[in-house]
């Protein structure tokens, strides 16, 4: 419609009546924008927006911190008892899988701690006290902390600064931090470089000679340095200074502890190889028993007790993480971290923290990764517990694929294929129900019943798809809720993963871990049974028969005939007695976290077979009936290499003894049979 005189008059009238532009537009048959434009051109007095007039000011919530300034944030924090949120939640979220959690992690969490008024997570590392004690001695050494990202280097130096200054000072964000006081006994200055890769060429030129001096001269006047860097960066930095370069390479590759070495002026510590027995439990406890959980406001509708229908999912997840005992999520996570370490997949502390936070706060809604208090209330309200399932969060399912792949914790957990393996017992139990299996009040039948009933009534493709997906989730829940050593051997949670013999491996490891080379402790029956299964599997591979022999190892000639299949010939039998010619033994680990190893020792030589979890799994499956050919060739290569080395030294030491043919008796035991033609020759 055109702006005729009459229409303009009507506009002016309605404008003075204080109607909204939209309403004016409707009455005049014009668009709102046309009305606004015309009013502006006419120069009509501007009126305040009706939206501002009718609603009150929105409360500033601490969940959107980046849009507000610090003072507003602290205001918000003070108001938290008026709003229904706990500042602990966004604080913990800063430890989780966010984009800033890869670089500058420690700086990021310290800032978050300050912003939300929460105490930062305080993981105990005994090394910190050792370093502080060393620095307070009359002749302290410089310290180099190396390791992968997330191993705790920046955290350690921060703690060192706090301890040295009795909590009066803390580490700043400068590239080189000069500790304000000189060290107590030695009166030497202390400089801290919290990340060597941050130094550009200019900085490097400035301090290079001083740094090299400090690390190579036993001088009482040079300053003491603490440097954090990962291995590659460290070597790159010192590549032009040969004495240091060679020394550092040596120390890193031999994994020696040079604290007590008198001739070196620095102590190199590889954070990735530090002993950390209870790290998972420590991390979980620090998170779920953080003092500020009591700041959850009582007016929050989701803040109910743990038997009520509607409870905040964050609190539900916290309950699950608090459980201890052999059938808890904590126990299985501990097992998984241990298995990963033994497979030489090192999990830095940061990854463990990210994993736990994700379990606690993961949210599977699109465009959302972690829960906030508001989102949690929302989920409670709408009964959407399937979106906050900790048993799915453990695998990073709440994150987009791309994000999931960035974090080692999720890659490792997904490698175990938990939920994708099963057996008849579990399938039947999930499909038809089984009272003996544990149910979870929030994440069990509550989220599973619907798709299960739907599928049972009508197993069409669509229902099947949802059902199968939910089955995977339930299997994962059962994995984290069952103890491995229960009466029913089929209800072993490890059957739900790729490592069906995971429990046996951990038993073997624990037994060896506790044992000491100095004391000859008697091995338990459990250990002996597992050792027998390992030997059975090895014998089956080495003799190419499905034998039952499991008390000794039959050393046979390995074949390397091109595309051939020569019969294995027995060279010697290795036994577990100390007086036999070839001694078979498992090494004691003396409380160090190392992969179990089988040794065959003859005279002075010893050949090792490293029993990594994957190899162990294959051997046990072979011992229980799988065919050796159904496994990857890497396994065969590992065993073949061991076989070849043992054969080589045996042949060298005992070459006057002719080999024997291997046969299988009717009971499945291996028997040796002399090769007549060779024996006759020897008789000459």
């Amino acid at each position: 419609m055109k702006w005729t005189e009459k229409v303009v008059e009507q506009l002016k009238q309605l404008w003075a009546d204080d109607l909204s532009t939209a309403e004016i537009g409707r009455r005049l048959n014009m668009t709102k924008n046309a009305v606004v434009g015309k009013a502006h051109r006419l120069g009509l007095s501007s009126r305040p927006s009706p939206i501002q007039k009718t609603t009150e000011a929105k409360p500033l919530t601490p969940t959107t911190p980046q849009k507000t300034t610090i003072s507003e944030k602290t205001q918000a924090i003070q108001h938290n008892t008026m709003t229904k949120s706990n500042p602990l939640i966004p604080f913990l979220a800063s430890y989780g899988p966010t984009s800033s959690s890869n670089t500058m992690y420690d700086e990021c969490v310290i800032k978050a701690a300050k912003d939300y008024g929460c105490t930062p997570l305080d993981i105990e590392i005994p090394l910190i006290d050792d370093i502080v004690t060393m620095l307070q001695k009359p002749s302290p050494k410089s310290v180099i902390l190396t390791g992968t990202a997330g191993d705790g280097k920046t955290y350690t130096v921060r703690k060192i600064v706090e301890k040295l200054s009795n909590n009066n000072n803390t580490l700043t964000n400068e590239k080189t931090y000069h500790f304000p006081h000189s060290l107590p006994s030695s009166r030497r200055p202390l400089y801290i470089i919290k990340d060597l890769s941050e130094l550009d060429n200019k900085d490097k030129k400035r301090i290079f000679s001083e740094l090299c001096n400090a690390l190579t001269q036993h001088d009482d006047d040079v300053p003491v340095f603490i440097i954090c860097a990962n291995d590659g960066c460290l070597l790159q930095f010192f590549k032009d200074y040969a004495p240091l370069y060679d020394k550092i390479i040596n120390l890193i590759s031999n994994n020696q502890d040079n604290k007590e070495e008198p001739q070196t002026c620095f102590w190199l510590i590889n954070m990735a190889r530090q002993p950390r027995q209870n790290i998972l439990d420590q991390v979980i406890d620090k998170i779920v028993e953080h003092p500020q959980w009591d700041k959850c406001p009582p007016i929050c509708p989701a803040y109910t007790n743990n038997k009520s229908e509607k409870r905040c999912p964050i609190l539900c997840n916290r309950d699950i993480l608090q459980q201890k005992g052999d059938n808890s999520m904590r126990a299985r996570l501990r097992d998984i971290v241990c298995l990963a370490e033994l497979s030489e997949e090192h999990l830095p502390i940061r990854q463990i923290i990210i994993g736990i936070i994700n379990i606690l706060l993961g949210d599977h809604k699109p465009n959302s990764s972690l829960l906030t208090c508001k989102k949690a209330q929302n989920r409670t309200d709408k009964n959407e517990y399937s979106l906050t399932n900790p048993y799915a969060n453990a695998f990073g399912d709440n994150l987009p694929q791309r994000e999931q792949k960035r974090y080692k914790i999720f890659t490792i957990l997904n490698d175990f294929q938990i939920g994708f393996e099963s057996n008849n017992f579990f399938e039947y139990a999930l499909l038809w129900g089984n009272e003996k299996l544990p149910d979870c009040f929030y994440y069990g039948s509550r989220i599973f019943e619907k798709s299960r009933q739907q599928y049972l009534r009508d197993p069409t493709t669509e229902h099947a798809e949802y059902f199968l997906h939910d089955m995977i989730v339930q299997r994962r829940r059962l994995f984290f809720s069952l103890a491995p050593n229960n009466e029913n051997c089929h209800a072993n949670p490890w059957q739900l993963s790729r490592f069906k013999y995971g429990a046996e491996y951990l038993d073997l490891f624990n037994e060896l871990f506790k044992s000491n080379t100095r004391t000859t402790q008697k091995k338990s029956d459990k250990f002996k049974s597992i050792a027998r299964q390992v030997l059975c599997g090895l014998n089956r591979v080495m003799t190419q028969t499905m034998t039952a022999t499991n008390s000794e190892l039959w050393i046979t000639t390995s074949s390397s005939v091109y595309r051939g299949n020569p019969t294995p010939l027995l060279i010697q039998r290795a036994q577990q007695r100390a007086d036999s010619q070839s001694v078979l033994s498992f090494t004691s680990l003396n409380n160090t976290l190392k992969t179990p190893v089988i040794h065959v020792t003859q005279k002075d030589h010893s050949i090792d077979l490293v029993l990594k979890p994957f190899l162990f799994e294959c051997l046990l499956r072979i011992a229980h009936g799988a065919l050796p050919a159904s496994f990857l060739s890497n396994i065969h290569q590992d065993i073949e290499k061991f076989q070849r080395q043992v054969t080589a030294i045996t042949q060298k030491n005992f070459d006057h003894i002719p080999p024997k043919e291997v046969q299988l008796s009717s009971s499945g035991e291996l028997q040796e049979r002399a090769i007549t033609i060779l024996e006759e020759e020897v008789d000459f």
Binding site: G564, P566, T567, I677
Partner: protein, 334 residues
């Protein structure tokens, strides 16, 4: 085709060849489609002959080598069905089994005329009587074990052309077993001859001879002892002879000879690798060396450069179409 100063005296010695292209370029003919492991097997066969009776070092004269046929051993290993039957047959008394089996096998063996070494031979396997003390189960055991050392078993070749892993002088034999009238070139297609000639004309020839003898022709390995027990005396065995020439005197490919010899020596000197593990890496590195030698010889023949540039070995192409591969090859040569 060749400039005068490169004329090889080889040509006069190869009788009545129509096509001499390969000999001109590479110095010797090589058979296409000879598998790499066959090439090295042939080379080792030639070495077994040369090491036992070294020929004169006359560069003008053609050389030849001869290999034992070991027909009887091969018959026992690959052709004889009677042993299994007799062993399993419960109607024959144990003490009679040896005699019964001997009769049957002789019938089959001597029926074919070319198997006769002497006209009056009634029992071709008489030598086994003493060696095995007429114990049929001992014989069965020995045959069973040795048979399993066949190379490339999955290919299921014809019975006359099966080979054993080289673990001693008695485990190597000629490509034919005397059945064909003309010299068998089924598998030993001269590729091994080229390798032998290259190694023999390299500067580390002596060391190589010693090492090969030590690693591949140790007569005391258990497998060799079994093979020796199953074959008749060398003096009674027939031999197949072959002629090989020599590689021409060239400037460029001498590097190729030394290169190949160096690779062989490095492998043979690996003491941590047991003897029976050497074969596979050896033939793989030989294949690579041969490819490089052929390419360099081709380059020299084209004679475009005074000093030809080093040949790149393309390990991977991002777009794997043949057109690109040919293009890259052309670009490097021209």
């Amino acid at each position: 085709m060749t400039p005068e100063n490169k004329k090889s005296p080889l040509i006069e010695h190869i009788p009545a060849t129509d096509m001499r292209i390969q000999e001109e370029i590479y110095g010797h003919r090589f058979g296409a489609k000879q598998e790499p492991f066959m090439i090295v097997l042939e080379t080792l066969a030639i070495y077994s002959s040369m090491l036992s009776c070294p020929a004169q070092e006359d560069s003008q004269q053609k050389r030849s080598y001869s290999l034992y046929q070991r027909r009887k051993m091969r018959f026992l290993l690959f052709h004889d069905p009677h042993l299994e039957h007799v062993i399993k047959d419960n109607h024959i008394a144990d003490s009679q089994k040896w005699r019964v089996w001997k009769n049957r096998i002789n019938q089959q063996f001597l029926a074919t005329s070319h198997n006769h070494t002497r006209d009056d031979e009634k029992d071709a396997f008489a030598y086994l009587d003493e060696k095995f003390s007429s114990d049929i189960s001992a014989l069965h055991q020995a045959i069973r074990i040795l048979r399993s050392y066949e190379l490339d078993r999955s290919h299921n070749r014809s019975k006359s052309h099966r080979f054993l892993a080289v673990q001693g002088p008695h485990t190597i034999y000629a490509d034919d077993d005397g059945r064909q009238t003309k010299q068998g070139r089924e598998y030993f297609r001269r590729g091994g001859e080229i390798v032998y000639l290259m190694l023999h004309q390299s500067s580390s020839k002596e060391k190589l001879n010693e090492k090969i003898r030590q690693r591949f022709f140790n007569p005391n390995t258990p497998i060799n002892k079994i093979a020796e027990a199953l074959s008749e005396d060398d003096s009674a065995d027939a031999k197949s002879e072959r002629e090989i020439g020599f590689l021409p005197d060239r400037s460029l490919p001498f590097e190729a000879y030394d290169r190949m010899a160096e690779d062989w020596l490095h492998l043979l000197n690996c003491d941590t690798l047991p003897d029976d593990y050497l074969f596979e890496p050896l033939f793989r590195i030989t294949g690579l060396n041969l490819v490089a030698y052929f390419a360099e010889a081709a380059q020299e023949t084209i004679a475009k450069y005074d000093k030809p540039p080093a040949l790149p070995i393309v390990v991977d192409l991002t777009e794997g179409r043949n057109k690109h591969l040919r293009q890259a090859a052309e670009n490097s040569l021209f």
